[in-house]
């Protein structure tokens, strides 16, 4: 896990251009006349090459943190991705999927099937649904009055 983390952080650090586009089109939109009569539209394509590390700093000058790390944009971004993956994709989505499709959780369906089968068997034989002598009377031992003493009987 730690190795995966470091790999992810390393790849993001090296590939900082993943976070910003390499070619930025800076197109001016002002079309008002300046000194001349003709209208000039400046259309500059600036290239953020690998040498322009200052502009990458400028791009992250107004960086708003996702909330996971307030000092490093790369750290923040990678933490955000990892946390969301584990928390949402794994814990919520995958777990939700597993939980909703669990086969016969705690044997409830089996128990209901058995109950219906038993009922059918009993109805075929003409027996009542539940035997009134479920617990045979001779097996029940109630305490005598002396044993009970003054204890309250709560049912």
């Amino acid at each position: 896990m730690a190795a995966l983390t470091r790999l992810g952080a390393l790849s993001l650090r090296l590939n900082q251009r993943l976070l910003q586009p390499s070619v930025v089109r800076a197109a001016g939109i002002s079309t008002s006349k300046k000194n001349k009569d003709t209208v000039t539209v400046t259309d500059v394509i600036t290239d953020h090459g690998k040498s322009k590390t200052e502009s990458s700093e400028a791009a992250s000058k107004n960086w708003i943190s996702w909330g996971f790390d307030h000092y490093s944009q790369v750290e923040d971004n990678s933490t955000m991705h990892m946390t969301f993956f584990v928390a949402v994709t794994l814990c919520l989505v995958t777990t939700g999927f597993v939980w909703s499709y669990l086969p016969d959780f705690r044997m409830r369906d089996w128990a209901q099937r058995e109950a219906f089968l038993e009922l059918r068997r009993r109805e075929a034989l003409g027996l009542p649904a539940i035997d009134p002598d479920l617990v045979p009377l001779d097996k029940i031992e109630l305490p005598d009055d002396e044993e009970l003493g003054s204890r309250e009987i709560i049912i």
Partner: protein
């Protein structure tokens, strides 16, 4: 069980890297959640640790809440306020909690139960904000300790009487007159204080208010449930004595719940309000447990999970406001919809879950518990109706006072919600509202 303990212990090694622990904690929750398929009564057994249905739910909740703590406590990380120590204390707490919930032995349970107080105390004293936290820590520590020493004695006596402290081998004790009554009282009082029941609840608002967000979340999310869980485990031994005394606990809880919800309506401090609302919810849970019917136990499990998520989320929200305005007072933090309208969504969703609106787990838990209490005695309807009504009214009071209206004039800047805050609230709310669709997962 070791497959969850070992990753936890390994994570202590990485306590300097917040990111790794944060992601790792979620990962272990994921692995734990995949262990839900169990048709046997007891599973993951080993080294006197094992899980059954209730333990599984509680351990899952603990892991989830601690993961959310790591997301919500970004201020500790930002200010570099003893980061690795913070992570270590949180992981230690989680280790003790997992030990508590998975122990198959009463003594192991007791030791971990008490041990979980120490990291909580360290959290409150170390990362709390106000000088009153010393008193709050003392209250929490001594309330819990004083009432749980009789529990230790009763467990040792039980060992000498029955020869074993394994929970699954415990049998109901036959009555021996007033000794068994004393035994019963000394055993359950520890959990009554932890839950907390009305008369022993004083430590809770203090501890919650003074604790940092991590402390509040773990307290509301998991530590209160220790009381409920412990009661379920311990009442196996004392079923007959419990039947003689449950009128006392139900009466005190319900009337206490009504008084506390009225007290809630008078609170000015947001965290204090949420803390008192925890007492109200737990009073319902207590009623469900001591009545000890099937629906009572199922309802209390559901309400424990629901309340853990909901209260924890509300504390997150209160902390977000505190981080921005520097105050927890409702008089300062009003009109927040003007500053953070998106956060208002989460305030709303968690507030309505708090007042047990559909489709939250709280609703299902409260319905089951209300039915349980009514089936036990119809007189409880007076208390329950007042409790439910005031519970809705104080939640509405908190929501409306904090969100609606004109904002406080002295607030000059307020950072809008960060993504990690929204994530934390979403992860609180989604299980709370989705799990009702398959609630057998959280039932006993």
């Amino acid at each position: 069980m070791l497959k969850f303990m070992i990753p936890l212990v390994v994570l202590i090694k990485y306590s300097k890297e917040w990111k790794i622990v944060q992601v790792g904690m979620f990962f272990v929750s994921f692995i734990l959640s995949l262990h839900c398929y169990h048709n046997f009564y007891l599973f993951s057994v080993g080294f006197n640790l094992g899980m059954d249905y209730i333990s599984y739910i509680m351990i899952m909740l603990s892991f989830w809440v601690v993961s959310l703590i790591l997301i919500s406590s970004q201020k500790v990380k930002k200010l570099d306020n003893f980061n690795s120590m913070f992570i270590m204390v949180n992981i230690m707490l989680l280790v003790f909690l997992v030990l508590t919930f998975s122990s198959m032995d009463y003594l192991m349970f007791y030791i971990s139960f008490e041990a979980s107080l120490i990291p909580t105390l360290i959290l409150i004293l170390g990362w709390g904000y106000q000088p009153e936290r010393i008193q709050a820590g003392i209250y929490m520590l001594f309330y819990t300790l004083a009432f749980s020493l009789p529990l230790l004695v009763s467990l040792l006596v039980y060992y000498s009487v029955s020869g074993s402290l394994i929970i699954n081998l415990s049998s109901s004790l036959s009555g021996m007159g007033y000794v068994s009554k004393l035994w019963y009282i000394s055993t359950v009082l520890a959990f009554m204080v932890k839950l907390p029941m009305f008369m022993f609840h004083l430590w809770l608002p203090k501890a919650h208010v003074e604790a940092p967000i991590a402390g509040s979340m773990i307290l509301a999310g998991v530590l209160l449930k220790l009381g409920g869980y412990g009661l379920i485990r311990v009442l196996i031994m004392f079923q007959e004595n419990n039947k003689e005394f449950c009128w006392l606990w139900v009466s005190v809880s319900i009337m206490g719940g009504v008084y506390i919800s009225l007290v809630c309506m008078r609170q000015v401090d947001m965290k204090s309000l949420i803390a008192y609302s925890s007492v109200v919810h737990m009073s319902l849970v207590l009623c469900g447990i001591v009545i000890f019917s099937w629906w009572g136990l199922a309802g209390c499990m559901i309400l424990m999970v629901g309340h853990g998520l909901c209260s924890s989320g509300l504390f997150c929200l209160a902390n977000m406001v505190y981080e921005r305005t520097g105050s927890r007072s409702l008089m300062v933090n009003k009109g927040l919809l003007t500053f953070m309208p998106s956060m208002g969504l989460w305030w709303f969703l968690l507030s309505v879950s708090n007042m047990a609106s559909p489709p939250s787990l709280n609703l299902m838990g409260e319905i089951m518990l209300i039915l349980t209490m009514l089936s036990w005695s119809k007189l409880t309807i007076f208390g329950i109706s007042l409790l439910s009504f005031f519970s809705a009214s104080y939640t509405l009071y908190m929501y409306s006072l904090s969100q609606h209206g004109v904002f406080y004039n002295s607030l000059y800047s307020c950072c809008s919600g960060k993504v990690n805050e929204y994530l934390s609230l979403f992860l609180h709310w989604l299980p709370l509202n989705i799990m009702i669709l398959n609630s057998t997962l959280v039932m006993i």
